[in-house]
């Protein structure tokens, strides 16, 4: 009996010893690697790797899930038959893909940040350029609407950029760029067509200055773009004043009520002061001249303007200094300036009104 019991105990001891040896020699599951891998994937996702490198993150997740499944499968085996090599390989693959995704995300983010910054500066420059060069001009309402829309979209993009939401910036910024480019191009095209008259304006200016020199007399030239009234005597500039015009001052006057200031070679027909004018002092000019009348007839005939009359009573008068273009087509100086001008002029003094004396390139750099 004792022998049997002893044999059983020996067998039991040997079995347990073998079991314990095998148990302690069997491989441990790579849990720390799995934990770290999961943490890496989560960190990458938190940093928007899913948006910048979706394919790589997806692959990393597939490898990680595969590793978990392989681990489970190995754990189902008898402990001494387990082999975690495949699990480790899958974790390594997942980690590599995550690193690749993070690298791509970091590079893409940095590149995007730089390119968006450049684009923001470009759009900002265009907006400022439009603001300084064109916004104060009497352009059509659409140009102003596009400009305002562009500015709103630019500001929104800038706010998103500041909070590093780069992926939200692109669309609005592209839209802003498109709108402001459209506004600038439209304004430039409008002005380019207007400035086709520059040679004529320069000729009129030269003829007026020559007349002043030849007759040793006073002549006036109004540069609408510069909003400046130049006074010449004996061919030399003796004074210059700020001038205010009609709101639609780009382009010549075509008909009554168009709020445009005419362009052409005119002369003073009457000096008005006191109760004869509501603008302190005024120099009435011979608008419309023969050229204006011919153009009006031509335009009415081809239907490009309404048959409203050509308009009259265009003056160079006081009451200015408001900083805006507000007249019905006249040229307004301040009362102080019209006083200074008053004694230089009389009936017959030439007043030449031109669109500009400088080229468009000199004005807007394009």
């Amino acid at each position: 009996m004792k022998k049997i019991l002893f044999t059983i105990l020996i067998v039991l001891f040997l079995t347990l010893s073998t079991f314990a040896t095998l148990y302690f020699l069997s491989p441990n599951p790579p849990l720390a690697s799995l934990e770290q891998c999961h943490r890496d994937i989560a960190t990458a996702k938190e940093q928007e790797a899913e948006k910048y490198a979706p394919g790589l993150i997806k692959e990393a997740e597939i490898f990680f899930e595969g590793a978990k499944e392989a681990l489970q499968k190995e754990n189902e085996k008898t402990f001494f038959l387990r082999d975690y090599k495949n699990v480790i390989k899958l974790v390594e693959n997942a980690t590599a893909k995550t690193s690749e995704a993070v690298k791509k995300m970091t590079e893409d983010k940095a590149n995007l940040s730089v390119s968006l910054q450049t684009k923001l500066e470009l759009v900002s420059h265009k907006i400022d350029h439009f603001d300084e060069t064109y916004a104060h001009l009497p352009l059509n309402k659409r140009a102003r609407r596009d400009f305002t829309n562009a500015k709103l979209k630019y500001l929104e993009s800038k706010k998103a950029y500041e909070r590093k939401a780069y992926l939200l910036v692109g669309n609005n910024l592209d839209e802003a760029n498109k709108l402001i480019s459209k506004s600038v191009d439209a304004a430039h095209a409008h002005l380019s067509s207007y400035f086709e008259n520059l040679p004529t304006w320069k000729r009129w200016h030269q003829e007026t200055v020559d007349w002043s020199r030849k007759n040793n007399a006073t002549a006036i030239v109004v540069d609408k773009f510069a909003h400046t009234c130049y006074v010449y005597n004996d061919g030399k500039e003796i004074k210059r004043f700020n001038a205010e015009l009609g709101p639609n001052w780009i382009g010549t006057k075509n008909f009554r009520g168009d709020k445009a200031t005419p362009e052409g070679k005119y002369y003073v027909t009457k000096k008005k002061s006191g109760k004869h004018t509501i603008y302190y002092k005024a120099l009435l000019i011979n608008y419309p001249n023969e050229e204006d009348k011919a153009r009006y007839q031509r335009n009415v005939r081809n239907g490009s303007i309404p048959k409203r009359g050509i308009g009259n009573l265009i003056e160079l008068h006081g009451g200015g200094g408001k900083g805006i273009n507000w007249t019905d087509g006249c040229v307004a100086l301040t009362n102080e300036d019209i006083d200074k001008l008053w004694n230089y002029v009389g009936n017959g003094t030439p007043i030449t009104i031109v669109g500009s004396l400088r080229s468009l390139h000199e004005i807007n750099g394009r």
Binding site: M1, I4, L5, I8, Y23, N28, P29, L31, L34, E35, H38, R39, A42, T43, K45, E46, K68, L71, Q72, E74, N75, F79, R82, P138, K141, R144, R145, T148, N149, K151, L152, K153, L155, E156, K158, K159, A160, R163, A165, L168, P247, G319, G321, K322, G323, I324, N325, W326, D328
Partner: protein, 200 residues
């Protein structure tokens, strides 16, 4: 012989008892996963990303611990640590849910407050427009500002839609942009009115 049989029988019973004691915490795992899904419903990923990440980490640690225990010989398994972690995931999830909701509410309030402020600013601009002298001086400038006000208002309408859709961060970007434009319009308008009044 009888004693030997008794001993073996006792061992067998003890073994059965041991193995039946340590079971994987399946209920806790299901609950923890559900708790994380619940935090997703309040957009915790978006509003408290760090906390959400910590929560997911904890769940993963618990799941790996379960796997670790599964790998052990039945007699040596213990799911106490995993169960404790899973329970803490549940508690943490509640906190994350609350924090996400609070943060979301904060951003929402911020967006709504900004919207209200800009709306007031636009109303002021409109009042100034209505009170501006109607003479020919500056009429065009006033009309241009009126056009811009309409654009800012349409922008604000988009902000309201974004707030209603729960996209508060984009709404904030938009409302800030509209605010800047409205402020510049107010200044432009005040200057235009001042110029207009200069002559009167």
């Amino acid at each position: 012989m009888r004693n030997l049989v008794k001993t073996v029988f006792a061992f067998a019973i003890a073994g059965v008892l041991f193995t039946s004691c340590a079971k994987a915490p399946e209920v806790e795992i299901t609950n923890a996963k559900a708790a994380i899904e619940a935090t997703k419903a309040v957009e915790a990923e978006r509003y408290v990303p760090a906390e959400f990440k910590a929560l997911q980490d904890s769940l993963n640690v618990a799941l790996l611990e379960v796997e670790n225990q599964n790998a052990k010989f039945a007699l040596f398994r213990s799911y106490k640590k995993a169960t404790a972690t899973l329970n803490s995931v549940n508690t943490m999830a509640e906190q994350v849910k609350a924090n996400a909701a609070t943060r979301k509410e904060e951003v929402k309030n911020q967006a709504q407050q900004s919207l209200a402020e800009v709306t007031t600013l636009v109303t002021e601009v409109k009042e100034l427009l209505a009170a501006a002298p109607k003479g020919k001086e500056g009429k065009e400038a006033l009309e241009a500002i009126q056009g811009d006000v309409v654009l800012v208002e349409s922008f604000l309408a988009e902000v309201s839609t974004l707030i209603n859709n729960g996209d508060y961060l984009t709404a904030l970007d938009k409302v800030k942009a509209a605010g800047e434009k409205a402020a510049s319009l107010k200044t432009e308008l005040e200057e235009a009115i001042a110029k207009t009044k200069k002559r009167r």
